[in-house]
Symmetry: C2
């Protein structure tokens, strides 16, 4: 999946650098994404395994969510981890054990099939990446749906602020930082951030806009100076795809819902399932429903 | 005035760079500023001409204001200029012609004596810099009190975000930009900005905090990349004092209430009076009264 995604990103990156009519070319090369304008359509495409890559830019206007599934025995400790780290882990929903639907987030959904790609973790090791987890499902699984920064991207774009990885049709670049999360029992680890390059005149408005979405990571945690948070090379993200940072732009970092995956590596629970980075659950929640009163 | 201020700033700059206990030394060298903790005291010190320099950091918690005084004949056009450019020119008060008190902004004040230093403009040329304008006063003078970014500095400091020129006890650096204001009749000119260096982890919060003060310039208009707004050398401000930008910090730019002075130069009204840059009217308004509902 990552290779596929990376190939597509690289080719679009060339387009971005050389031509302006990128969108037309994209439509020719990735036809399926044209139809994925509603949450239902995205979830159906996941279910039928037509869509197995990242969901950024799909079903515009609808909130996407990170997923963590744990057996009941680990769920309470993980919930505490999320509560202690609300910037990277804003909880949109925690299911009852065994529940596969999400009535508060989507009219019709099955957590076992409706994401493009899942990661399976055993003892903190990533052991598999698969498109359907039905055969692995257990009745004591508790699912955590965690807000995703894709939600505020629509608001940025609507305000005329370009989002580079959406322009390129690739996954957002994500990085482990040297900032430690608050730990909860065995769950601990570094804050993971997503990065969007912004120019000097857009950065302030981007902070204002994303501040209005506290349930999907809210305002940036860091602007510029990547080395200060332990990021050595912006072109080598730990998750997702590299995107170019143009002269006059600065990297802007938001807390990221992939943070729990780093905590799983440290906690080493016997079993866990997550989404693959960028391959989110697309909900029926409108992005605007997660927006707080805007400021002047 | 500027030389005095600059000397003090330079010596504090050395202190800032070499020692940490700056504040104690400051108190020894500039005793008068210790007592200037209330608006009344600041205005009295202006009236007695004990205070003839910039007011940043004085009467903490109270709003300060930029001043423009014009004869009635030019006042309507200038008011329109302010209304068209609310980021640099947020109007806190416009007086009736000839009025020298400001009952909405201060219980007891006289606009002719209660600022540390005034600038007198004839045909768009700065012709004089004086501490009292009583002898120049005319009964048709209309005074414009314009919000000042000093107001949000207290909120920044309270949030643990250091403000460099306050630490140094000098004036904020201000720059003409290549951004044109909206013009109103003869009033036109470049946007003037104030600059505060911030580190990468404070910048986002500083945007959030200053967004809460739309009547005192609000959020930054530009973050990083000074050359993009026509600023060639951060160490050569057009107004105020230079402050150092440390490695890992970026210059953050806010619309500034000195913008009208640039418009006066272009409009060349036969007569005008303003405050000297940084030498503000200190009001009885609490800074917090200008704060809108905070966001998470």
């Amino acid at each position: 999946m990552n290779e596929l995604c990376h190939d597509r990103c690289s080719s679009r990156l060339r387009q971005w650098a050389t031509v302006s009519e990128t969108s037309e070319k994209e439509q020719t090369s990735v036809p399926i994404r044209n139809d994925l304008s509603t949450p239902d359509a995205v979830r159906a495409a996941c279910r039928s395994e037509e869509l197995t890559t990242q969901t950024s830019g799909l079903a515009p206007g609808f909130a996407q969510a990170n997923l963590v599934i744990l057996p009941r025995g680990d769920a309470d400790e993980f919930r505490r981890f999320c509560e202690l780290n609300p910037k990277p882990c804003p909880l949109l929903e925690v299911t009852e054990p065994g529940e596969v639907s999400l009535p508060r987030l989507a009219k019709k959904a099955d957590l076992r099939s409706d994401l493009p790609m899942y990661r399976v973790w055993r003892n903190g090791q990533l052991t598999d990446e698969i498109t359907n987890i039905s055969t692995l499902w257990q009745n004591d699984f508790v699912s955590f749906l965690i807000g995703c920064s894709f939600t505020f991207e629509a608001a940025l774009i609507e305000a005329g602020i370009p989002v580079r990885h959406v322009e390129l049709g690739c996954n957002v670049p994500m990085f482990r930082t040297n900032i430690d999360c608050e730990s909860a029992g065995k769950f601990r680890g570094p804050l993971v951030v997503s990065m969007r390059p912004l120019n000097a005149s857009d950065t302030s408005r981007a902070v204002q806009i994303t501040s209005q979405f506290p349930d999907v990571h809210g305002a940036p945690i860091h602007i510029g100076a990547p080395e200060e948070i332990g990021i050595k090379d912006l072109q080598s993200p730990d998750f997702g795809d590299a995107v170019p940072v143009a002269p006059g732009e600065q990297p802007v970092f938001w807390a990221c819902g992939v943070t729990p995956q780093a905590a799983l590596e440290a906690a080493k629970p016997s079993f866990a399932i997550t989404h693959s980075p960028g391959c989110m659950f697309v909900s029926d929640l409108k992005d605007v429903s997660l927006r707080r009163t805007p400021q002047r």
